[in-house]
């Protein structure tokens, strides 16, 4: 057991695979026992630098895809915190995105002020999240999934029942002023989406690091124990849902800006399911997993499209992405049950064990 040389004093977790707490060597090492973790601000700044760099080297269409990844990241990050850290399963995040998107479209078409529209989108989605969250906090497991599923399904009906406002299946177009002359449209979109995404990720990282993060995990793991420890369970669950909903609202608003239109068809039930699949594949509860998930949501459909084009089957295009997603999910769950985000630590652990 003690054969490992600890020259840097950092590698002490020879056998921590089942959360077996290693005995802290001298107490001073305690914060380091899970490896070196930079502060979220540093990670986000590094991410911002990478993204800005990428927007200058990538061709326009790749920039647009990059922007889409950013928009997806907002919602997957929020969802992974809700599902992974707080244990609440939501199938309705597509509907929350629709709420954000429609609010942005309506506000933007009325006032033509993008910051104001974003604020409105976040505010309205937060309220919607609070209402659903209040109901959701009383439900567990499949019942919670059922409630959120109903929310996802109701979107087209709402749009057609109040067609004076939402214009039914046709949806609304979003009035947008073009970006300043010197910036290409796609670059500007990438910057907009990634600024939002990085802010969202930073806030979520700070949130889940602190006391609230501990509360969320405690509620997820054992409600009774958490209650005994003085955690207000309902409050934690509702707040987690609200935070997650606000993130979905941001994502929806970004999609409305990217597509310059909103319609129920853009937020189908499958979107909610894809989001959930993406965070599971990426690694539940991990913000980096959310990044991987967002990346997959953009890359896999594009990839399967080019595959089916080469195969020469036009009909396959729309359906192949579903199959690919399913296969990836199965493979990842078999090979790395913790999701893609867990692979680097698995590898390093394996290497250390074999040394």
């Amino acid at each position: 057991m003690t054969g490992v040389q600890t020259n840097e004093g950092g590698v002490t977790d020879v056998q921590t695979k089942q959360n077996a707490e290693p005995v802290p060597k001298q107490g001073v090492d305690l914060p380091r026992r899970r490896g070196w973790r930079p502060h979220p601000v540093i990670v986000v700044l590094a991410g911002a630098l990478i993204v800005v760099g990428l927007t200058y080297v990538l061709p326009p269409f790749r920039n647009y895809q990059l922007a889409t990844v950013g928009a997806y990241l907002c919602v997957t990050a929020g969802l992974t915190v809700l599902t992974g850290l707080n244990g609440q399963l939501s199938l309705g995040h597509g509907a929350l995105m629709a709420t954000g998107a429609y609010t942005l479209a309506l506000t933007q078409n009325k006032f033509e002020n993008l910051p104001l529209s974003f604020a409105a989108a976040i505010a309205v989605t937060t309220v919607a999240g609070a209402i659903i969250g209040l109901a959701a906090a009383r439900l567990r497991g499949p019942y919670l999934a059922g409630l959120t599923l109903a929310v996802a399904i109701v979107v087209p009906s709402v749009a057609s029942t109040f067609d004076e406002t939402f214009n039914s299946d046709q949806g609304l177009s979003v009035m947008l002023n073009p970006p300043p002359e010197q910036f290409p449209m796609e670059q500007w979109q990438a910057w907009l989406c990634w600024s939002a995404a990085l802010i969202v990720v930073l806030l979520l990282a700070l949130l889940s690091r602190g006391r609230f993060g501990r509360d969320m995990r405690a509620v997820r793991d054992d409600e009774t124990a958490a209650k005994l420890a003085g955690v207000n369970i309902a409050r934690t669950q509702v707040l987690a849902f609200v935070a997650s909903a606000a993130c979905a609202g941001v994502a929806g608003a970004l999609f409305a800006v990217l597509a310059q239109s909103v319609s129920p068809g853009a937020f189908p039930l499958t979107l909610s399911l894809f989001l959930l699949m993406a965070i599971v594949i990426g690694g539940l509860g991990s913000l980096f997993g959310a990044l991987w998930g967002a990346l997959l949501l953009v890359v896999l459909p594009a990839l399967s499209q080019s595959v089916s084009e080469q195969a020469g089957s036009q009909r396959l295009e729309g359906n192949l992405a579903l199959i690919v997603f399913g296969v990836v999910l199965v493979v990842v769950m078999l090979a790395a049950p913790g999701g893609l985000a867990s692979i680097p630590s698995r590898i390093s652990r394996m290497l250390r064990r074999n040394r």
Binding site: R62, Y64, G265, F288, S306
Partner: protein, 421 residues
């Protein structure tokens, strides 16, 4: 670990950026017109190949492509072969955004041709305008495509739904004078524009109802028509809802005269949905502006059937195939007029100049001020399971202009089947 993840993301994106780069038809010969080389022209489209609107409509793009293959086999246009890139958007506006960007920015297409759908195509108008991409012959009858000042590169193909509504209503007014007429329309531009046209002629209808595609049930609407005693029902519906309306009426023993919009009346598609109940379509009145698929004596149909057999793997020959090939024919005509030195401005210019004579029964309306497609329709009736034309074609405008008969004889296709320069 985070470093690894971040750098892996960067690498993945870069790799993705590089791999597909070579696939695009990058203009080689020093000419700076996107999608055009000395030997090829790349054009693209977005179509519902899967999803709710795929029934019937998914056959249009393969038919257009088949016609282009036919032209390519006959030497192409000014020595250039036409490559048609078809992308599936599943009738979802969010997908349309992505695939059209891919076509324009990645594949560098010369033009977008016949993009299908009102909600889908509306979202890309601004993008295409900013990138100065010609947006030709949109596959929808919305009046949005006719905004020459705002979208100078966008042109429609179908007669707009208001024109159609006026023509259908004129028939109703003349043939079923004094009968109670009602209207069922899709809850979007399609239904609304159509109702506008109907009301311009009839003044008012006894009852008007609407439906949404996401809710496949028209029981309440048809029930309301029966209760109101409607004797004639005008439908602005897509094929599945035409079938649904006819079937629902039969179920409650209600037999009005149905008068159906062109986009929802392809007998092959509707009959397939109705199944054993297909005979219910007998006597249905609709309208069209292209030769009918069953009219085998028509030289256009003979040409298209030949192309269909040789280049479309003998796909079931319905009006969607006729439509797709007519679009292809018109685009080749435009390329021929634009001449050897093809540019984006040039193609917009020749389309505005118009003067195209093709399979259509009525003229196209293109001019510098007018970017809407065909200007009229002729009525059809279903007899023994087949649609047949009756009367004369009518033309009109989307305003208060009169509905007038159009008497010029249709032209026949050239011997080679490829329009001359």
């Amino acid at each position: 670990m985070k470093r690894i993840a971040a750098s892996a993301l960067a690498v993945a994106l870069l790799a993705a950026g590089c791999t597909n780069e070579g696939g695009g038809g990058s203009g080689g010969t020093g000419g700076d017109v996107p999608g055009v080389t000395d030997t090829s022209i790349v054009v693209g489209t977005h179509m519902p190949l899967t999803g709710p609107a795929a029934a019937g409509y998914s056959k249009i793009a393969p038919a257009t492509k088949a016609y282009f293959d036919y032209v390519n086999a006959n030497g192409g246009v000014h020595g250039r072969k036409i490559e048609y890139k078809v992308k599936d958007d599943a009738y979802n506006p969010a997908n349309t955004q992505t695939v059209v960007r891919e076509l324009v920015l990645q594949d560098k297409v010369f033009a977008i041709l016949n993009g299908l759908g009102t909600p889908t195509h509306t979202g890309v108008l601004d993008f295409l305008k900013t990138n100065r991409v010609p947006d030709l012959f949109v596959a929808s009858g919305s009046r949005s495509w006719n905004q020459a000042d705002k979208y100078p590169g966008t042109f429609g193909f179908n007669p707009d739904y208001t024109v159609e509504g006026k023509i259908l209503a004129t028939h109703v007014k003349e043939t079923y004078a004094g009968k109670k007429t009602c209207f069922l329309g899709q809850d979007d531009d399609f239904g609304r524009d159509s109702l506008l046209g109907v009301k311009k002629i009839l003044g008012t209808v006894a009852a008007e109802e609407k439906y949404v595609t996401s809710s496949p049930n028209v029981g309440p609407q048809i029930g309301a028509f029966k209760a109101a005693g409607c004797e004639v029902v005008i439908l602005a519906t897509i094929p599945p809802f035409t079938a649904l309306s006819i079937g629902t009426a039969a179920k409650i023993a209600y037999k009005p005269q149905f008068v159906v919009s062109n986009v929802g009346a392809d007998p092959t598609t509707v009959a397939k949905t109705l199944g054993d109940a297909a005979p219910l379509m007998e006597g249905l009145v609709a309208a069209n502006y292209l030769p009918l698929n069953t009219d085998e004596s028509n030289p256009w149909i003979q040409l298209f059937q030949k192309v269909n057999k040789e280049h479309n793997a003998g796909a079931e020959f319905d009006n969607n195939v006729v439509y797709g090939m007519s679009v292809g024919y018109l685009f080749v005509q435009a390329l021929q007029s634009a001449g050897k030195d093809l540019t984006r401005d040039k193609i917009v210019e020749v389309v505005q100049k118009n003067g195209f004579q093709g399979p259509g029964l009525v003229p196209l309306r293109f001019s510098a001020q007018d970017h809407s497609g065909y200007g009229g329709e002729q009525l059809t009736k279903i007899e023994k399971g087949k649609a047949v034309y009756f009367g004369t074609p009518y033309t009109t405008d989307d305003g208060d202009g009169p509905v007038t008969p159009y008497t010029n004889q249709p032209v026949t296709p050239p011997q080679s089947g490829v329009p001359a320069a």
